[in-house]
Each structure stands twice: as C-alpha cells, then as structure tokens.
C-alpha cells in the first residue's frame, strides 16, 4: 500500500516540473513562436531559487528570484527574436547554453563549488497539509501533503485553459499562431502578443525550475534540468498544445520518472532506469506520428 502511495506521489513530483514548463510553452506554441528555451529558463530558475532561499532564508524570495531569473532569459529571447528578428531556433539553443554556462559559472563564483551545492540553510518550499482531506483513507495522503507548487500547478492548468480558450487574450494569442498577418491587420500587434506569451512562459518555467531545486530536493546541481525542457516540448507537440492534454502527458512522464526510481530498489542499474522517461517519449512520439499519418489519409 505504502509502495503504491509512494509510486503515485513520486509520479506527481515527477510530473510537476514538466507540467509547469509545458503550460508555459503552450502560450508560445499557440502564439506561433518556436520556443525551445524552456530548458534554459527552468535551469536559471532552479539556480536563482536556491540563491534566494539561501541568502535570504526565505523560500518566497527564492521563488521570486526564480521567476526573475527565467524572466531575464525571456527578455533576452524577446530582444533577439522579436526585436532583432534573429532565428528563434538559434536564439533558443544559444539561450539554453547561456543558462548552462552562467549557472555553472555562478555556482563556482558564488558558492565556490563545482557540481552540486547543498546546504541546510536552503529553505525549501513547504508542503501543504489540507486538514479534512488528509484524513480520507488512501487518497488522503496523496491529495494532501504535497508541495505548494504542486497545488499551484493544478490550479494553473485550469487557469491556462480559461485564458487560452475563453478570453480575448487567448483569441489573440491563437490568432497570432494561426495567421499573424490576419492579427496584424486587425489592429493588434502580433509582436506584442508574442512578447506577452514569452513572459507568461517564463513565469511558469520559473515555478517549474523552483520546484526542482526547492521542492523536489533542496540543492542545485549543474545542468539539473537534465532535458526536462525538451520533454515538455515533446509533450506540447504531442497534444497540440491543449492544457488538459498536457496535464495527462505530464502525469505519464512523471509516472515513468517515478518508475525509474522504483525499479532501482529492485536492482536495475540506475543508468537504465534513468533512460525510461526518454524511451517513453520516443514511444509517445511513435504513437503521435501514427495518428498524424492516419489523419492525413494514407497516401504516398
């Protein structure tokens, strides 16, 4: 029983950063931006979260700094991609490398370590125990006691759905992606909408990165995002951006993440269990490609 609960909570923890990054990426996806900088945004956020929490002894400040960190990256993206019209793919890759470089550099400069920084002084984001719910048998320990950011992520999913499909902003964001010329000739500046989408993306990636370093564990390791930004990109593509679909896929990946840890207890080498989420992504991509092919109608 405890094993099952552990598996499910592990799944939720694994899913959360992917969910948040993917939700952020949804805005840029709909807006028609080829945004691959989620990895970098999350990494910046993870580092600055630890920075803020360590030096100010407050997880709230850590969270704020995390969001500021990923916003910085988004601003650079906007400067290059939107203002200077640099290719989005190139900008994204360069920003990912920049984030990697600067976090590694600061890790060395500020914390004077290489590889990993951890300390008892880092204040983690707290868990939330919901009074009545936690008493419910079986689901109680799952639904209650999760990290604050997990609950934020759940609310965010519904919020994103509302924002994208029910509001004026959402109509314009999707318009920017479907046909930017049309939006421009309607009097709305596409570049402005895209900018707003990028900032929103940074906000969510900031939360996701903060969860990695202040919620999941309390430390910062070089390159600790470990490709999660890429997986969130895959998630967006697989469900065509729909927030509810993203939630489902993220849970799936979280499951595989947790499964990996679980299998380690049974002697499977850690390197193989670590591969699981990536193999799962390949499989999901296979299913997706199959579906696309069927939709097109099998013609050569």
């Amino acid at each position: 029983m405890n094993v099952l609960i552990g598996l499910i909570t592990g799944m939720i923890s694994g899913a959360t950063p992917i969910l948040l990054a993917a939700l952020g990426g949804t805005f840029t996806f709909y807006a028609g931006i080829f945004n691959i900088a989620m990895e970098g945004m999350m990494l910046m956020a993870a580092f600055f979260a630890v920075l803020g929490s360590f030096f100010f002894h407050s997880w709230l400040i850590g969270l704020a700094l995390a969001i500021l960190g990923s916003l910085t990256l988004a601003l650079i993206f906007i400067l290059f991609s939107v203002r200077l019209e640099t290719d989005e793919f190139v900008t994204g890759i360069a920003l990912n490398l920049f984030a990697l470089g600067i976090t590694t550099y600061f890790l060395r400069q500020i914390f004077k370590v290489k590889g990993v920084f951890t300390s008892k002084s880092i204040v983690p984001v707290p868990q939330l125990n919901i009074p009545i719910i936690e008493k419910i048998p079986f689901v109680g320990p799952i639904l209650s006691g999760r990290n604050l950011i997990v609950y934020i992520a759940v609310i965010a999913t519904f919020f994103c759905y509302y924002l994208i499909f029910k509001t004026r902003f959402g109509l314009r964001v999707r318009g920017a992606g479907y046909n930017a010329d049309s939006l421009d000739s309607s009097g709305v500046r596409t570049s402005r909408i895209r900018m707003q989408a990028l900032l929103l993306c940074a906000l969510f990636c900031g939360l996701g990165g903060a969860f990695l370093s202040l919620g999941y564990v309390t430390l910062f390791a070089e390159n600790m995002t470990a490709g999660r930004g890429w997986i969130s990109l895959a998630a967006i593509i697989l469900v065509d951006g729909h927030p509810y679909g993203i939630a489902a896929i993220s849970l799936l990946f979280g499951f595989f993440d947790g499964l990996g840890l679980f299998l380690q207890n049974y002697g499977v080498a850690s390197q193989f269990t670590a591969m699981i989420p990536y193999i799962a992504t390949l499989f999901a991509l296979y299913v997706y490609a199959r579906r696309v092919r069927e939709k097109k109608g099998k013609r050569t």
Binding site: T167, Y178, N179, D184, S185
Partner: protein, 508 residues
C-alpha cells in the same frame, strides 16, 4: 469635388534599392469609386499599403479630411475610418466568421472573458444591414472564397470605416460572382463610402469606377474620368506603348497523342473527392488550357501528374507509357514543368542562378557528370548558364548571384529556359504568367506558342481566362474535381466558360 484623402509627393524605396513609388500625388473624393490601375509591379498595391500604414513611406505627406496624418500601423488607419482588404485573404481559417470579424475589437465581460453572445448578435445585425448573406457561426475554412472576401469587408464595416481599399478583389472570383460584388460596392458608394479599387483588369475598372488613376513604374501617369476614356487608351498609358489585344495564334494541325489522363480519382481522408473521374488528352502541337476557380482540383491534378501525390485510382500516360507509379525523376525524362509558385516550388531563392539552372539537367544529362556521376562538372554548368543567358536574354548580374536578386520576369525566364531545354515531349505549366509585367507576359506567351510550333504537347493551367483565350486551342473547365467542359476555343466565349467554372451548367 471635395477631397477626402490627398497624397502629396509620396516616395517609397524598398531596401536595398527598389523604387516602388516615385513622387506620386493623387487625391480621392468622398462618395466615389476610384480605381488605381497599372501592370504588375507598377506600384499601385504599394501606394495603398503606404496610405494604410502597413508599410512606412520615405517622404511626402498624406492628408485626411484636410488634416495631415501618418499611420504607423493598420490600427491607426482603421481608427480614422480607412480599411483595406488585401489580395490574399488574411482571415484565420480555423476561426468562425464572427470570431474573425470581432478579432481586435472583441466585446468583453469581466476578467477579459469574451462576450460571445453579444459578439454574434452584433455581427449578425451588420450582415443584415449590408445584405451580405453570411452565417456568423460558419467556420471560415468551410466557406467559399467569395464569401471569405465578404467577411473581410464585413470586418472593416464592423469598425465603421468610411473608406474601403480593395486590392485585386476580382482575382479570386468567377465571372458570375463579380456583378454581385460590384452591386454591393455601388451601394456602399451611394451611402457615402469611398471605394479605392486596385486592379489591372481594364474592362471591370471601366464598368465600376467613377474615376481612374493610372500608374506605371512607380509614377502616376494620369487621373481620368471613366466615362471619358476607353480600354485602349488606358492600356497604352499603363504600358507606355500600344498593346495588342488579339491573339497571335495561327492554325496548327495537331499531331499524335502525347499525354493522357484516364479516370483519375483522388479522395481526401474524410471521403471528399478531390479529383473525380478526370480523363482528357493532349496531342503534339496542341495547347490545352484548364480553367477553373482555384481550389477545384487543379493543384491536386498537377501534383499527381508530377508525382508529388498519388491518385487513388486511374492512370497517366505519356507517349503510351504509364507513368502513374514512376518516380519523379523518371517522369522528368518525359515532362517539363513550370510550377505555380516560383519561389516555393520552382526554384531555391537563396541558391545561385547557376545552381537553379542545372536542376534536373544534373541528373539527366551525362555532360554534367564526371567520375561516373559522382562529381558535377561545374565548367560545363557555367557554359550552360552562359548559353541560357544569351539565348533567352536573361538579365543577371552574375551566374553566382542569388536567384532572388533577379526580377520576377527574369526568374521565370530562367525556370522556363531550364525546362524548355529538357527536350521532353510534354510540357505542364501552372499559372506561368502570375505576377509578371506585361512585357514578360508577352514573352512567355510567345514561348508557349513556339512550343506548339515545335510540336510539343502543352497543358496550361490558368486562372486568367483572357490568357487562355489568347493561347489555348482547347479549354477544359474544372469544377469540384471534375472536368465539366471540353471546349474548342474558337467555338466558345468567356461567359460560357465562366458559367462552367461556377458549375452552372453540368456537361454531358
């Protein structure tokens, strides 16, 4: 006449050095239909884009209602009551009619939530006010092109514009749909709106307009009253010399059967028939034209002949040989092809002129290969391009210049030359004169007729009925994937073809 809009000494240079508008001054009145004519590249579209704020101009000034204005984006122009409907319809196909109309001016409730009920009602009442016959809830992707055009106009009327700029609106309509549009425009004019109508179709312009401004090579030639001029003088002003409107086609006996399509069928995954039992033939020394509103299967037909797509049933034959399951390379040994879109299908804009010129030749002609086909003989390639330049009078800076540095006419010359020299029996051409100036159009028509003299078989897809009547021996009409008519050019009229294009008369 009271001038509503006045343009003074407008100059626009597109980077790096394309002079699009050269010191133009012109004015438009309230409550008139004013057409701006000129051939492709004359600057009429650009002039309107400058007025509208889509593109910034370099010098000059614009007066609206007596006040100097400068629009930095379309939103500014719309706010002052000027709206533009572009040549390419810029709607969002995934959205419904009402969503497209209110985009940018959406009625909202609390928290930014769209008030869809209010929006739909508002759109519906506008539709009724102008008698447009549209369903606000229809998805734009599903409605006809003429209907989409109406949605674009509606979008502007929704924002209460008093000036409507229309850029080549009849290019996407059948002859039968045009009178309805004209009636609607005249009604708007009678209500006090100003219509600016950009076109190169002189008959239409003469029928519709109050006044006409003629542009040539970025300059204004003259502004005349429609009632006081005629087609010939307009054309002369447009081109700068006498233009001949009659056909240069002389009788030519057709030869053996070269190309055959037999019962071609193609379905979309949801069952919609894209090509429905298409059968026809083309003989040597014959030019067969295919007319039809875009989107009735012509593109799918071209793609399946070339091998980009496969039909579900049926076969194509060239000189008796079944090519339906051959690779594209094999087909190219028999078929030359000038595609619809120079940039997207006929060339690589960023590659050099030389690289573009040797495509397909590099595989089919041994003279270009060394070392058993592994290495390309660039010396022979250079000679080839020099020969092309000489023989077809192509203006280029150097062989190594980027293809996109060539003018539209010269680009088409390179593509045409490349395909002509493949020495195949069958030539497929899709909208070969689109976007070209009159001189280049005449040149291309000359080359097509020369192919006919040389006993090649030519299949010409064109949306320009005048062109088909000038050049083709036979005209087929496509409608909803079927060939609905097979007419001898001598024995039919533009009106009859137009009727078939709309599907009015089903053929036996």
């Amino acid at each position: 006449m009271n001038d509503l809009i006045a343009l003074h000494n407008i100059v626009k240079v597109y980077p790096p050095n394309v002079l699009a508008v050269d010191n133009v001054s012109v004015s438009f009145s309230k409550g008139e239909i004013h057409s701006i004519v000129g051939e492709n590249g004359a600057g009429k579209s650009t002039l309107m884009k400058l007025l509208y704020g889509l593109v910034p101009f370099d010098s000059g000034r614009i007066e609206f209602g007596g006040v100097n204005v400068r629009f930095h984006k379309p939103g500014d122009a719309i706010a002052m009551g000027i709206g533009m409907v572009h040549q390419e319809i810029v709607l969002i196909p995934q959205y419904s009619v009402w969503e497209n109309v209110v985009l940018g001016a959406e009625p909202i409730r609390s928290m930014g939530r769209i008030d869809s009920r209010a929006a739909i009602d508002a759109v519906r009442s506008k539709i009724e006010e102008f008698q447009f016959n549209l369903d606000p809830l229809a998805i734009v992707d599903d409605i006809s092109v003429a209907a989409r055009q109406k949605v674009e106009i509606l979008k502007l009327l929704f924002r209460n514009v008093s000036v409507l700029i229309l850029d080549e609106p009849t290019a996407v309509l059948t002859p039968q749909e045009i009178p309805q549009l004209f009636a609607e425009l005249k009604r708007l004019r009678d209500r006090g709106h100003t219509i600016l109508f950009i076109s190169h179709r002189l008959d239409e312009v003469l029928e519709l307009s109050d006044r006409i401004t003629i542009m040539r090579k970025g300059r204004k030639v003259a502004t005349v009253e429609a009632s006081k001029t005629n087609k010939e003088s307009l054309a002369t002003m447009m081109v700068g010399r006498q233009v001949i409107f009659t056909s240069k086609r002389t009788p030519h006996r057709r030869g053996e059967l070269v190309f055959e399509a037999r019962h071609i069928e193609m379905e979309r995954s949801d069952g919609l028939k894209l090509l429905d039992d298409v059968s026809f033939s083309v003989h040597a020394g014959e030019i067969v034209g295919i007319a039809g509103v875009e989107g009735n299967g012509q593109f799918e037909l071209v793609n399946s002949i070339m091998g980009l797509e496969q039909p579900n049933r049926g076969s194509f034959l060239v000189k008796g040989r079944d090519i339906t399951s051959l690779s594209i390379l094999e087909r190219r040994k028999l078929i030359s092809f000038v595609p619809q879109d120079r940039g997207k299908m006929g060339a690589s804009l960023s590659a050099s002129i030389l690289d573009n010129a040797i495509m397909t030749h590099h595989r089919l002609e041994k003279q270009f290969s060394r070392w058993h086909g592994l290495v390309l003989d660039y010396r022979k390639a250079r000679d080839f391009v020099d020969m092309l330049k000489e023989r077809f009078s192509i203006q280029m800076a150097s062989r190594q210049s980027e293809f996109r540095s060539l003018s539209g006419g010269n680009q088409q010359k390179v593509i045409l030359a490349r395909e002509l020299l493949l020495a195949t029996p069958f030539f497929l051409m899709d909208q070969p004169t689109r976007g070209l100036d009159v001189g280049s159009i005449e040149y291309v028509h000359g080359e097509i007729l020369a192919m006919r003299e040389a006993d090649r078989a030519v299949l010409l897809i064109s949306a320009d009925l005048e062109e088909l009547f000038l050049v083709a021996d036979r005209i087929l009409v496509m409608h909803r994937g079927c060939i609905v008519a097979d007419l001898m050019t001598e024995k039919t009229t533009i009106e009859e073809v137009g009727a078939y294009m709309l599907g009015g008369r089903a053929s036996a």
